[in-house]
Symmetry: C2
Subunit: 533 residues, 2 copies
């Protein structure tokens, strides 16, 4: 038998051993490029591990980061867990109250902060009782009220470039992420080395996102969000070139990074891909080297998948996951036989679903009585998940555990879904977003997806509004494509082709843009508030 | 955190859930085809699990199989470990003494035996003290001295087609394999569910053998040998079509199975691929659908890799492993950049090596003083291995552990190897096969590989013979290609282009065929005995 399961230091050692000259390229916040190799990075990761020892951060203590996507954050991704501490990546876009809460909840011993987020941290300094030091992720310390404070380069300077990595139990916590808290106080999700290593191995598989050593991997998704869906780790275990772009997420910046660095696979939420598609159409720019994009975080309209296929020759791979299942649990690619068996319509309909559970993950769909819903692709129920990188409890939140997990240990995702015979899960809505009208359910997500198939519609969000007779009724917010107009009547006629009459929104509001959450999803809470006020 | 790591029953449940109509096709011993689906297989696996309960085989007890590659053996692969027992696959080609030893060592509670191997088992019946029942893998029991005995179909008949799989710790033993014992008494190697599940996940990866749901997988390697390199499990987790061919291993049978079933990936030892190549040349037959073959068990001559590329358009992927690292630890495919960086000569030279460690496995090369050999691709030392499916002790063999593992827990493979900067391990010889001449080492493997590059040579084996002055000297056995002749002088002139004069064999013997071991490797022990006698 064996006791040699890998931890995250083994992941980095693999790149150092097999791809020492493999490149990590960052477009830093100031627009300058920083390029170095896995070997270079390894030496700095060792220096950082020594620095953490010197700072007196004990084993198992948490190290917080308030940082964008860059090489120094990458170094923290390995030095912190590799040396036996836990990485706590903090979403800088959280509301004040939650921002303070998560740092307190994690009892972060030290915070590593980008210069651009120092002000944000300063405002909350008094609430951070456990934080004994601040490190600015730069080569100098700007004028700041934080203290004690040092800069990252001074912290590393002159330290040894080798480190004796401790032999860790693979079930040691390597990181803590908090949920984005759209449904209440953020909840802590603990990941272990084993969970992330197993998830990385899944992402190298041909039938998932198939990351290979010859790929150029560009995680656009923020590094504070579910480890950027594990891509920094995945690129490292594969020995792929890794590209990071700090906070540069405009479509113009993204396409130029993709072109310049020869990116073959990139990952981001659908709203980013909507913006990129619009920019490419408008500018006539090219993303010729890009082979596939992985979209996650919220549902991808079928129209967008077709658009990337037809206009840009890029395969859009949809994946479904949440912080509790990071990076993801299902993936939507054409399975064996599907392309041959069915027409193009079925193929795209399947690809627009959340997808099939990946190896290591089990799913089930349960109705309100806790019974299995039939796998007919029509009957809805709650999606429940269990597996090799799915948590079975939250960090010190017995209140949340009671709601969050079934008594036999499955994660209750809060997503309403169908499941079909081929194994494709279709998330029809968040439980909280579903519209309950006259005792029946209307899927806001399906309405949005269908609206976005209309040529004149760029973006759409549908929410529930209270109704005296029907309890709730759908209300649609629509952003039209540039230079296009459309009216409610036309859109309802479009929807009527697919949905019963009582599904159609009672009202439409045409807006210039939709508000987005800290993780770039359409912010339905804010839309509701706007109607209430 | 999670406690939901997969076991082998989850692997089968995945196929049943996502590819219930996926096919398992067996060319049985009598030449008839048996075809059924994963759903069909699942129901029979459940019946078999119930039968094991009924036979009173306790949790953790071992179930022995003396069987070829077929659907019933596949059912045992899942029912035995899934229900908490351990599968003991027995090599029917072992010498008598070893055959008895392994059954006693495993304390097999029951033996499942193919009709063709019943006589073999009958001869040793008296030695099998722990075996309380025999099951003939057929639908009737032939005349036999074994007792109590039943046939497999009667055992399953009428039992429920669902089973409540126990929730097992992933580190539960799922199987016991014995080494082939070419260096002494066979040693027991215990595998756990976790080890095999992790290895399967590795084999789905793009940079390894990249098994996908759209593949048709044909393990030619026997199912008694390292779980047929895990392919039955790998095909199942991927939901691929699986093809088995019992004991049909003639080149004619293999190529006809490949053609008939549309095989895309097949695995076997190099001698099989040598035979198949010769047969294809001779017969003019085609293997058009075959995309890649995985070769393992012993080194692949570079000439054979080129031949499959050029003549048959099939990628030969070499993998290195042993029972202790089953299925394998390194794999030889062109890594990122290698194709671009180097010429064709370098590319083939790399592909002819054992390859690079796969994710989950760490390797090192140590000289006789236990120091790291430089990674120059030239300095030899012992290959040592550690990782997620590598054992760190043998089953109840403290004597073997002392030799087999370093004090820090690495497996001492007994292979002599070099390692280069790109990460390619080159196994230059088995420690026991290396020829020690005048205080220097001569690699028998390199001589063989170079001899087989000569157009007139079909097969070559080089062994050490004692020598008064030089201690040992090389002696070559050569099989020429059909209708070709060649003499020692010509072959030595060929070798002289690459090796120093003192490496050249002192003597040659031209033979019609080379003896092979129970696992289809050239049997050098027998060749040595032939010279001694």
């Amino acid at each position: 038998m064996t006791r040699s399961q890998w931890t995250l230091s083994d992941v980095l050692l693999r790149a150092t051993s097999l791809a020492p000259d493999g490149e990590i390229a960052t477009k830093r916040e100031d627009g300058e490029w920083h390029q170095y190799t896995y070997q270079d990075a390894y030496e700095r990761v060792c220096q950082l591990a020594h620095a953490l020892d010197e700072l007196g951060i004990g084993a198992g203590k948490r190290v917080g980061t308030v940082a964008a996507n860059h090489d120094r954050h990458y170094e923290l991704y390995f030095a912190v867990p590799g040396s036996g501490r836990s990485l706590h990546t903090i979403n800088h876009r959280l509301p004040d109250e939650h921002f303070e809460y998560v740092v307190e909840d994690a009892e972060d011993a030290v915070l590593f902060v980008d210069p651009q987020f120092i002000e944000r941290v300063e405002c909350h300094r008094d609430a951070f009782e456990d934080v004994s030091a601040f490190v600015v992720l730069d080569d100098e310390v700007p004028d700041t009220a934080l203290e004690p404070v040092t800069d990252y380069e001074s912290l590393l300077e002159g330290r040894p470039t080798e480190y004796e990595w401790p032999s860790l139990d693979p079930e040691t916590e390597c990181g803590l992420c908090h949920t984005s808290g759209t449904t209440g106080i953020p909840k802590g999700v603990q990941h272990t080395h084993g969970m992330l290593v197993r998830a990385c191995n899944m992402m190298l598989q041909t039938d998932t996102v198939a990351v290979s050593g010859s790929d150029v991997v560009f995680p656009i998704v923020p590094m504070f969000h579910g480890y950027a869906w594990a891509y920094p780790y995945v690129a490292t275990i594969a020995g792929s070139k890794l590209v990071l772009a700090d906070s540069h997420t405009s479509p113009e910046a993204l396409t130029s990074v993709i072109e310049r660095e020869g990116v073959t696979i990139a990952s981001a939420v659908p709203t980013i891909w909507l913006d990129v598609a619009a920019y490419l159409d408008e500018s006539g720019k090219s993303i010729a080297g890009l082979e596939r994009i992985q979209s996650g975080g919220s549902a991808v309209p079928e129209s967008l998948i077709r658009r990337y296929d037809d206009a840009f020759d890029v395969e859009m791979i949809q994946a479904w996951g949440m912080t509790e299942t990071a990076p993801f649990a299902t993936i939507s690619r054409a399975p064996s036989g599907l392309e041959a068996d069915c027409g193009e319509i079925d193929l795209y309909a399947s690809r627009a679903k959340a997808g099939r559970p990946v190896p290591g993950i089990s799913v089930r769909v349960r109705d309100e009585d806790g019974e299995s819903a039939p796998r007919d692709g029509e009957t809805v129920g709650e999606l429940q998940v269990r597996g090799e990188w799915v948590i079975d409890s939250y960090y010190e939140r017995p209140d949340a555990d009671a709601d969050g997990f079934t008594c036999d240990g499955w994660l209750r995702t809060g997503d309403v879904a169908t499941w079909d015979k081929r194994g494709f899960v279709d998330v029809v809505d968040r439980k909280k977003d579903i519209i309950k009208s006259g005792g029946e359910w209307i899927s806001s997500l399906e309405l949005e997806s269908e609206l976005m198939r209309n040529d004149a519609v760029a973006e759409a969000a549908v929410i529930a509004v209270d109704h005296d007779i029907w309890q709730e009724r759908p209300f649609a917010f629509v952003v039209t494509e540039r230079d296009r107009t459309v009216d409610a009547e036309t859109l309802n006629a479009h929807l009527r082709e697919r949905f019963p009459k009582w599904w159609l929104p009672d009202e439409y509001e045409f807006v210039d843009a939709l508000p987005r959450t800290s993780t770039e999803k359409f912010d339905k809470q804010q839309l509701s508030k706007r109607l209430d006020s």
